[in-house]
């Protein structure tokens, strides 16, 4: 990336995939880039537009069954996201978007739907809906710390040999086997829904690092509120049993 060209945050299909606060991820990345003096822009791409090939970080949100299936079909036909991922762009997806990245997921009536194939995972529908707070220990090699957030899904996800679990749950359901989320290269997904990066600034910085290289630290006061919120939420669920 040349120093003059702004970092492009490409939000994929907010018209179909934006269930609950998904904009938060774009806003957190934008703020943390800007605080470090990195020029940044948010590009929203609706489902009737081609996905630009030149984004640096692609964001995908949550969605109901039908929008999830429609969005997947369009992304497969469009090919832009695949081209970008193939040349090393970062992809960050939550909830329905996470499932879409895999080889297949359960659509309406749990019929299997072909996914985007950017992450070696397969998802189906579980017996019960997982709703509530999640705490998980992120893979130490990512240097992100604990994950804190909210999940609201009925998915069960199994990882293939090419994907690594993002984290191990200590509270909540995640993938359903004690792990939570997955990553493969610079493609990363999580069942934390909506504004997952708000309480996980370390994860936001990982995505920025993947896209823009080493980052200078932030002035502490710029992080104070986010860290207080993070500490408050972790303390509020401390001692709750793992789900």
């Amino acid at each position: 990336m040349s120093p003059t060209r702004p970092l492009r945050l490409t939000w994929v299909y907010p018209d179909l995939l934006s269930t609950y606060g998904d904009r938060g991820n774009a806003l957190v990345l934008e703020r943390r880039a800007r605080l470090r003096g990195l020029p940044v822009e948010i590009v929203e791409v609706n489902s009737d537009q081609p996905v630009p090939r030149d984004g640096d970080i692609y964001l995908m949100g949550g969605g109901e069954d039908l929008p999830q299936t429609l969005a997947t079909r369009r992304l497969l036909a469009d090919g832009g996201l695949h081209e970008a991922a193939a040349r090393g762009a970062v992809v960050f997806a939550v909830c329905a978007g996470y499932q879409m990245l895999g080889a297949e997921f359960g659509g309406a009536d749990d019929a299997p739907v072909q996914g985007l194939g950017l992450l070696d995972i397969r998802s189906g529908r579980g017996e019960v809906r997982a709703v509530g707070e999640v705490v998980a220990e992120v893979d130490p090699r990512l240097n992100v710390g604990q994950l804190t957030g909210f999940e609201n899904h009925q998915g069960v996800t199994r990882l293939g040999p090419n994907a690594r679990p993002l984290a191990r749950t200590t509270l909540g359901t995640g993938n359903g086997d004690g792990t939570e989320g997955a990553y493969q290269g610079r493609v990363l997904g999580t069942y934390l829904h909506g504004p997952a990066l708000v309480r996980n600034p370390g994860l936001a910085d990982l995505l920025l690092y993947w896209a823009a290289g080493p980052l200078p630290p932030l002035p502490p006061q710029a992080e104070e509120l986010a860290n207080r919120l993070r500490a408050e939420r972790l303390a509020a669920v401390a001692g709750s049993p793992a789900g």
Binding site: L16, L27, V28, R31, N46, L70, N152, A226, L229
Partner: protein, 421 residues
């Protein structure tokens, strides 16, 4: 025999016992200071006679009112608009809007020939079957408390199926909300109202086929399957209602905001379906000044406090339109208890940038969630612990404090301000 006894005597013995026992339980609950008793009374009655609601609804003209936002206010407005009919109107004015609440409302008004019942979105199919309504009002559909509410495309589909199976019912629906219009499209008789749609984040795509909708002002259409905004017979235009004959009348409501004008036009369309003249109905609507504590103005510690309730992004968007301009101070307050939804993600769907440069205070049990949200929108604010601290902070600038809170935060302030016994 009075009306009350006459109506009850038509009920089967089991139902009569059920309503008596349920009524007694409600009274006990009220005396014990546990709310208005409508839910507990209804629950007990229904346990004794599960088909009680159908029995109680039989022979009455029922209006069911549903939608994500504006149910309580619209129910109150419709009840007011139907006052010219004379006689008692049954209504669940305390917002108990599931089967027990509806049952209790009908039990408490046995001689009311008309019932206006706020109904939870999820319960519409069952309540349509149970009450054979004369009118079903569909206001709007948007994301709301996703940790416990159904997803809205799914809700729209269930409404659509339920209304297709109720050919005698008239639907009064907002044509400007694509999901609502699609859901109402299966009904045999629909009165379409151009009630406006401020929040559009949940209806960029066609509810029928999923294609990105074409939009032009309030108009919308799908280029792929041909689904489009139906032609309307009632319309909200600024502060005026345009009726089916094309006559424009000023609304001049006491209640503030575009959302309430929209609710009022819906109420006028319902009143018309009951044969109530628009002019008469409108006179009643203008008398409504407060709904379950909302919009109430309270003086305290030398400040003038106004309480606004909003529970989800669409509601907050409308409420931010209503708050008084500077120098009034704004207190935003959010909790995440069960009735609020335990997930505060929705705060990121609200655009707070218009509060930049204003005197903003942040309170509630989840004030840090709100603080981080405002920081991202570059809105300066101060954290406060309670309403008195907020009033004092506001008074340093001007006496007016506009409070925007979600459900339990709102109730806590009402208690603190002495507006609830």
């Amino acid at each position: 025999m009075d009306d009350n006894t006459r109506h009850r005597s038509r009920l089967p013995i089991r139902a009569r016992v059920a309503t008596t026992v349920g009524g007694a339980a409600a009274t006990v609950s009220r005396l014990a200071g546990k709310g208005d008793g409508s839910v507990i009374g209804g629950v007990i009655s229904l346990r004794l006679a599960p088909d009680l609601l159908s029995l109680l609804a039989a022979g009455r003209r029922v209006v069911l009112v549903t939608g994500t936002n504006g149910k309580t206010t619209t129910t109150k407005l419709i009840t007011a608009a139907l006052a010219p009919l004379g006689g008692q109107i049954a209504s669940n004015i305390y917002g108990a809007n599931m089967e027990a609440g509806l049952t209790s409302a009908l039990t408490r008004a046995p001689d009311a020939r008309v019932a206006v019942l706020e109904t939870d979105e999820k319960y519409i199919p069952a309540m349509v079957r149970a009450t054979s309504p004369k009118v079903v009002v569909l206001l709007n559909l948007s994301r709301d408390q996703m940790d416990r509410a159904a997803e809205i495309w799914l809700l729209a589909r269930r409404w659509r199926e339920a209304l297709a199976a109720a050919p005698d019912c008239r639907v009064v629906a907002n044509a400007d909300d694509p999901l609502v219009a699609w859901a109402a499209g299966s009904a045999r008789q629909v009165t379409w109202v151009a009630a406006g749609q401020r929040w559009r984040e949940d209806s960029w795509c066609c509810p029928n086929c999923g294609a990105h909708l074409q939009r032009d002002g309030d108009d919308w259409s799908c280029g792929e399957c041909g689904q489009r905004r139906p032609p309307v017979s009632w319309m909200l235009y600024d502060n005026e209602v345009i009726d089916p004959k094309g006559r424009a009348t000023r609304l001049d409501l006491a209640l503030p905001g575009r959302a309430n004008r929209s609710n009022a036009v819906i109420a006028l369309a319902v009143a018309d379906a009951f044969g109530v003249h628009t002019g008469q109905a409108l006179r009643e609507l203008r008398q409504v000044t407060s709904v379950a504590g909302r919009y109430t103005q309270v003086s305290r510690r030398g400040g003038d406090v106004r309480l606004l309730l909003a529970k989800n992004p669409a509601g907050w968007l409308e409420a931010l339109d209503v708050i008084a301009p500077p120098p009034a101070t704004v207190l935003l307050s959010v909790n995440a208890q069960g009735p609020d939804g335990r997930d505060t993600s929705w705060l990121w769907d609200v655009d707070f940038r218009r509060l930049r440069g204003r005197n903003v205070l942040v309170g509630g049990e989840r004030k840090l969630d709100l603080a981080v949200r405002l920081e991202a929108d570059e809105v300066a604010f101060k954290l406060v612990d309670d309403i008195d601290e907020a009033i004092d902070a506001a008074r340093a600038v001007a006496p007016n404090l506009e409070v925007l809170a979600n459900y339990t935060a709102f109730q806590q302030y009402r208690v603190a301000l002495g507006r609830v016994q």
